[in-house]
Amino acid sequence: MDQSLLTRFQQKDPLVLGKLLREVENQTSLGYEFLKLCTTKTGNSHVIGITGPPGAGKSTLVGELCKKWSEMGYSIGVVLIDPTSPFSGGALLGDRIRMMELAKNSGVFIKSLATRGSLGGLAASTADIVQIYDAFGKDIIVIETVGVGQVEFDVMNISDTVVLINVPGLGDSIQTLKGGIMEIADLYVINQADRPGADESVRDLNMMIREKKQLTWKPPILKTVATNHEGIEELINEIENHKAYLKTSNLWNKKREERNLKRFNTQINQLFHQKINEFISTNNHIENSIVRVKEGKEDPFTAAHQIFEGFLTDHNIK
């Protein structure tokens, strides 16, 4: 690798940060080389995941939080994720528009990502982007997921603190009882709290949390009106409280260990996946078999099994 690139990264050159994030996003060999180099220099940033349904006000809230944090002297890395079109493969990344005034603030760096086929609410490269920000020396890293439904909770695997943003009027108390996204938050926010039904939403959440007796951290429930800057300071305080809790309970370290392991597993799976795909694309008789599966003339279970056996034999694996 170009040594000057590394030096400039260490000198906190934003141009180099932008270029490296793009390399990592595109999973290029330069990107991987760099990730390998900076693994041991990471683990210090507070990673905050912001999730919630589309239109709840995630981006506006992220903008408000970043403004406050940068006033407090923190440097911040932001990752904004929006969906890739399943038809064209393109994407319209429109979250940044809510925080364009931050572009002038040199302490806040913003990267927009498209999901590129990932379904868990994040882009596949999110963990790598976080690592680069971390190595760059960002105090706080904010990940804003795509607008989510009930099951997109990958964000909990890479965040220290998960904030779930909801709005009033999205269903009755049964919705808060369900498994999935409702369970993963460390903090609940009812945004657009100037709309009718905000107090009822808070009450339902309160009931759900009260019933979980074994919790050592009781997730706070906050009301905000992000467009009016209301409730932002309280939210910042609670995020800070959660960080303190993580540190004293040693969950801070535990989360990092789990994250490292998870990334290792993802990498193994990815390498394996690549090999299988290579094997399939370089064997003509497999292509024929796939065509037969496609036409419904061969069952997919037998075909997959046979191809897998062929792969093992080909690689001398018993």
């Binding site: 934003p14 141009l15 940060l17 932008g18 270029k19 994030l21 793009r22 996003e25 595109n26 999973q27 290029t28 060999s29 890739t84 079109s85 038809f87 064209s88 493969g89 393109g90 994407a91 319209l92 990344l93 429109g94 940044r96 528009i97 364009m100 005034e101 572009a103 002038k104 760096f109 913003i110 990267k111 927009s112 498209a114 590129r116």
Partner: protein
């Protein structure tokens, strides 16, 4: 390896509240398989260039209907040089006279699109500009 998806920033500069065109372009480029960062209304050249740097886009596309293009484009070019991102493609469109288009191209704007340009032409031109630029950067 590596994914070569084209990244584009679409923004409107200055005091100009008409964003229908910018939105149509953003949508069109998405439908052509590009990743479009939509920067929205009333951006200063400083904000636009800073965003392009952070996102490391291939293309900066400015929509202008206010008549300020002879001020905005030279300023953006100047800032791009200052920040070290003059290798990115700068393009745009709006109510710009043919002779002004020539003048701005002389200054370093890669291409500009006046009224009546078809969406297909814009897409194709942007793809061409990016691919020839990538070749140049690698060479």
């Amino acid at each position: 390896m590596g994914n070569e998806t084209i990244k584009v920033l679409i923004a409107k500069a200055g005091l100009d509240g008409h964003d229908r065109g910018a939105k149509v372009i953003a949508r069109t480029l998405m439908d052509a398989g590009m990743e479009v960062i939509y920067g929205g209304l009333r951006q200063s050249p400083e904000q636009i260039v800073e965003t392009a740097l952070q996102e490391d886009v291939d293309v900066i596309g400015i929509s202008l209907l206010s008549g300020a293009h002879m001020k905005v484009f030279p300023r953006i070019l100047e800032l791009m040089k200052e920040k070290g991102i003059e290798d990115k493609i700068l393009t745009g469109g709006g109510t710009i006279l043919p002779e002004e288009i020539e003048e701005l191209k002389q200054l370093g704007v890669d291409d500009l699109f006046g009224p009546d340009t078809s969406l297909d032409d814009i897409t194709t031109k942007i793809q061409q500009l990016v691919y020839s630029n990538r070749k140049n950067v690698k060479a």
